[in-house]
Symmetry: D4
Subunit: 205 residues, 8 copies
């Protein structure tokens, strides 16, 4: 609730009542609100007191949009995911960037084991102004995209995987050691942080 | 040797002869060159064959500057370090950004245990267009700066420390878990990567 | 149940019946009692047999106060938390210190990403006789407070966070590597241990 | 010295005298010999007593070739490396496979950050009978090649990298979590093991 | 769904509806289908729309077999498990190999602590064309079998165990460090990957 | 150089020239100085320019004592070590506390495997005002002393040990999990930090 | 089901039906049986088909005692636990040793923070023929007992603890690094293994 | 220097002078002495002052044998090693057991990848009274021997290996998770501890 024009609430570890109360109070000040890691139950409670709240189920986000920011539709943020299981984290990033006033495009399920599906997106990758790459398992997508794009790439490791993925550690280490320059990494499953940073970068001029 | 206008050579793990040969060949094509993790001995060998090579001892970088890129001196990258031992990594980042055509300012030795020395730099932190925060030990500087700056912050954990710093792991985990939004992290001691990414972001418009 | 004037029971891993029986027996000897990590259900069972038992829900503590110790209200222990999710651990520390006969003041939700909210507490930080700093995620609060206070700082890492926080490991390592001198660390989520040690220090003369 | 037609000696941790003695004894039985992790000094000592010994400097291998096995030049093993620093491990694999009677082709320095250099090798990748992929840092090459090849891929993580590569751990975990099927992994820097297994597979019919 | 003639669906982390829809769609194209990590509930939903779907309860696999591939019954894949608790992973490997058109034989519960039960299988081990060794706890079976077999051995560590097995890490490290040559390792519990790779190798000529 | 009346210099990672220059400058202001992790060579260089510098070889400390602080010889800090190899870290703690104006007593080589040698020190343990326990290997001394003393115990894990001590990790975890209350832990080998904190506590009233 | 005169069944990960069937079959051969990690529900199912089965609730063991082995009551195994939460593992060890024909004595809740309660048991510790020390948290009890006893000590780390105990890792490392000679360690929570080994040693002559 | 009839000195981390002085003093009391991890240089210094000192180069032990204990040659300790590189640790165990008055037999280089060389030793394994199994890499030898022997097995993991052996961690975890009962484990490379414990067990009656 500190930076930027949208107030952000991290719901994980809070009770339904706490989330409801916090969002209600913020809504009174006519702020745009982004509540992350929110359950459907939390949304129902919020909706009862803030009529214009919306729920993004996949992304687990509650949004309240007041004072819509102007969007420069030329400069878009490209959000990519390696697998379908990574989509919730990708959506957390995408919706975060959208509510902060950015044009967002999505390219999901383009893991590197099917390199042609990824190469088919070459043009989009080259046109994007900022890129967010979301991947679990071995997280290799970040390196390939990092090599294709000249613009900043924000890599988000996810906890998707099993066994030696150790809760996202494999993807995290992989992304930190990427042989492509121009990449930076956020915490495992931190779609929000990636969306927030992408928005800051995208709005620089 | 893939991205951007300066050719980059990673010298660690290469012999003096290999580095000399690679830089000599690149210099023939009139490229600007950045050789990272270069020892003084490597520099001497390179200098013998490429007369305009320069050495940045602290940063352990060899640079060959051809076709100087124009610099927008209004938009500067601020490179900060927590301790004096972190300066080599900070310099790697700073010189990398400079050779890629950016105005760079430096604020070193402003660890959070002396919060006033850091707060004295508030204006610079708010004016910077991109920030690079270099810190070992507990890496807390990234979070404090992340909270003060509205612009992108690239955090570089260093291997400075002992005992439970486990070669930079403590600073790395600390930065990944930063409570400040708008921060992204690169590999431990990866000043080059931070400088490269900061340059990309700084030159967007 | 070994040291100090209050008998301490660690309820985690015990059954409701076991906790009830232990507290009942101790109460017969007219001891003050502190039962940590106690569920509400345990409290109900204890209350049925020890009428003056009280429950501190947030702190998950049952207390029975007999022979109230005299409190020196000049020398206070300051308990600080970085986030709201850290409050249960902070309260465990605070109530522990209180039942052991100390004046306790609380300053919660002053994470370093909002450094001004923390600096607003400067006076309290300088006046405190002992400080307990409770923080999860990157645990940076300990270093900043450690730099501001001349008195002993006890740092308590919490398991709050996700991904690369690895159950509190990030905050723990961060605090152990603090660049501020005069800090010592207890186990992850060990509010009780911090409160106990702070009380011992606070009552020295 | 147990499996296959070539006697294998692991020199690491042995003295120059021990290696010399072992190789001399094996040579008397007219065996082909492969000595891995051998220093140049060891080679000189061996050469003094076994005249037809040869040294592969990059691979750190001593070989003695007797009874040259017939080679099926149609079925080749393709050894690929991501970076130039990975070449010693790649060569250990390649020479091992060669002395065991296989046709070997090499494609080095095709890291995924330059995906086109890799795609240029598509035909070779599709024609290879067995593939060995050697990579340090984030080890992403294994996944991309795994997706392109229909034949078995043996992935060898290397200890090349720094910081959060943790001695090859990042590449190892990355390869174990590869999203491409048909990949198996050997120990960090174990070029010999990869070459040996590739040879066994390549000679099946 | 990328490689080989059978379409593969990884059900873990997908909803019953998603699995049902994906399998139904694939079945329309008359593909053979393998759905791994599938619950019985998923099977019931699939069966309702794809009549010839079958469930392998132990292996947690749904299969739809169209265009049965010809099987060379001379060349068999031997799937071995150390304990009875490892059987689900072993079965995942075995059924995967079968649906891809291979003769498969099974030898279960031959852990190395009872070396004679293992040695009784010597003939089968020597006759097998490819071997899959599935083991949790200390994973020693892979090394012993690796020493007995001249053919490729694919080792699958499992998460079976407790305490210092750390979710399969002990078996994984053990297998990666095997003193027997000719072994390669897949991810913890990755029976599918082992079966897939064994099939590729078994069908080479 | 931030807290307390003695200026502190951390020499590790600095050159001999840097240490000499820093100490010389501080000495001009007539400050007491404590330089930690100082080699004998550094001392020689310092001595050449600051005549009253002293060297504590075992502790690897250079001290310059100006304005000797008054010492309350009744209240002493007890520094204990488990083994003889832990003495350098113990001495770092002890001399640090001494230069900060405290009475210090030492009890070395009282590891718990010889419990009687430890129990012989019972009286000293009970009389001490603050205790510093220095131990490597399994670090058990902290728990036993923690149970015997009613005063604050600062535990310092050391990197002494081999194998599964993992550079002091075993002792660190052991001390963090101590079953004795009233203990806090500093970084592995951080004798300075322990001495500093003990001094702060010892001088409270 | 391999070693010793009692058949052993490891129930964890088996279904109630599987356990019932295995025990029933073994009982037909008139074997003594020990089923570890057995739930009450498993016991009820077993009891229905094997009338003389008994349940040790704390130890989670089902036993069927046929052919009672003679017990040498002079030579006893001493089972000690540090905390009350460690008792289930201690009982697993104790009952295992008893059914294998050993005299067993128990001393529970003698953690080292209350060293006098432990020293009160000195005589028993010196008289014991074999000692089993069960402890979680920091596991220091093993070192102190190891120093007091001249006979073999088997240390069993438990997963009791929280935070930086990391599921028993702290106690495990502590015991492996014990400064007392004559100690060996089994897996975390492996009371069965300790009881089994103690029995083997106790019956040697 | 606490338990048993031979005084033990751990030389690692001590200076040549310290070792010389300690051994000289002990020799005056006519004690048998065992100095572990001793360099040849230390031996030379000791020999100069204690004429009957002997050096066991492979084992890195200095011994001084006074009052030779009687040896029961029927009951022997069998020391086994998996590889030749493990022999130094095995010898440390063997010589330790010998100086403490035990008959010791050695069987080296019987790693499980050559199971027949191991099975050839079956008789010796069954006759041994106590067994010490020394192995690095994957440490599988302990499990196989544990299954063959009815007597106590002490497993010693070694740091021999590379890559994912992580300094002996792989062998350590492997041995702790052994599927054979009757095994206990000591620290990585701790030959002394194993020899000491084996001696204690071997001399029980
Ligand atoms: N200090 C550094 N850390 C990480 N990557 C680097 C560094 N310096 C250069 N690189 C990368 O390494 C590549 C050159 O590697 P090489 O071809 O081995 O010299 C460049 O394209 C950079 O992306
Ligand atoms: N570079 C290597 N990495 C892993 N194992 C190896 C290597 N080179 C040889 N080996 C194995 O080591 C055995 C020989 O070991 P040794 O008898 O100690 O020389 C061979 O049979 C191989 O299985
Ligand atoms: N041995 C030590 N371990 C940890 N921190 C230290 C040590 N010695 C000094 N310090 C800290 O390092 C600071 C000085 O660092 P520097 O300015 O780099 O010399 C002091 O203020 C102390 O807080
Ligand atoms: N609690 C336990 N922990 C470790 N190993 C056990 C345990 N209980 C039984 N075992 C071992 O498991 C084997 C039986 O396993 P199973 O055949 O799967 O029932 C026995 O021979 C023992 O060696
Ligand atoms: Mg790029
Ligand atoms: Mg910010
Ligand atoms: Mg302070
Ligand atoms: Mg493939
Ligand atoms: Mg083999
Ligand atoms: Mg105490
Ligand atoms: Mg003992
Ligand atoms: Mg046995």
């Amino acid at each position: 609730i500190r930076q930027g024009f949208a107030e952000v609430v991290f719901c994980q570890g809070k009770t339904v009542e706490q989330v409801q109360a916090i969002v209600q109070r913020l809504a009174e000040y006519n702020h745009s609100i982004l509540a992350t890691r929110a359950s459907k139950e939390m949304y129902t409670a919020v909706k009862a007191v803030v009529a214009d709240a919306e729920y993004h189920e996949l992304a687990r986000l509650i949004t309240v949009e007041r004072q819509k920011p102007p969007v420069d539709s030329e400069r878009f943020i490209l959000v990519m995911s390696a697998g379908t299981s990574d989509i919730p984290v990708a959506e957390e990033a995408a919706v975060t960037a959208e509510i902060m006033g950015n044009e967002v495009r999505r390219v999901y399920d383009v893991g590197v084991a099917g390199i042609h599906r990824l190469l088919d997106q070459r043009q989009l990758i080259e046109q994007a102004n900022v890129l967010i790459v979301v991947a679990g398992m071995e997280g290799a997508l970040a390196s390939v995209v990092g090599g294709m794009a000249a613009k900043p790439v924000i890599a988000v490791p996810t906890s998707i995987g099993y066994g030696a993925s150790f809760g996202g550690l494999a993807a995290l280490l992989s992304m930190l050691n990427s042989c492509a320059a121009g990449i930076a990494v956020v915490n495992i499953d931190n779609g929000f942080g990636a969306g927030r940073l992408a928005s800051i970068i995208n709005q620089m001029r």
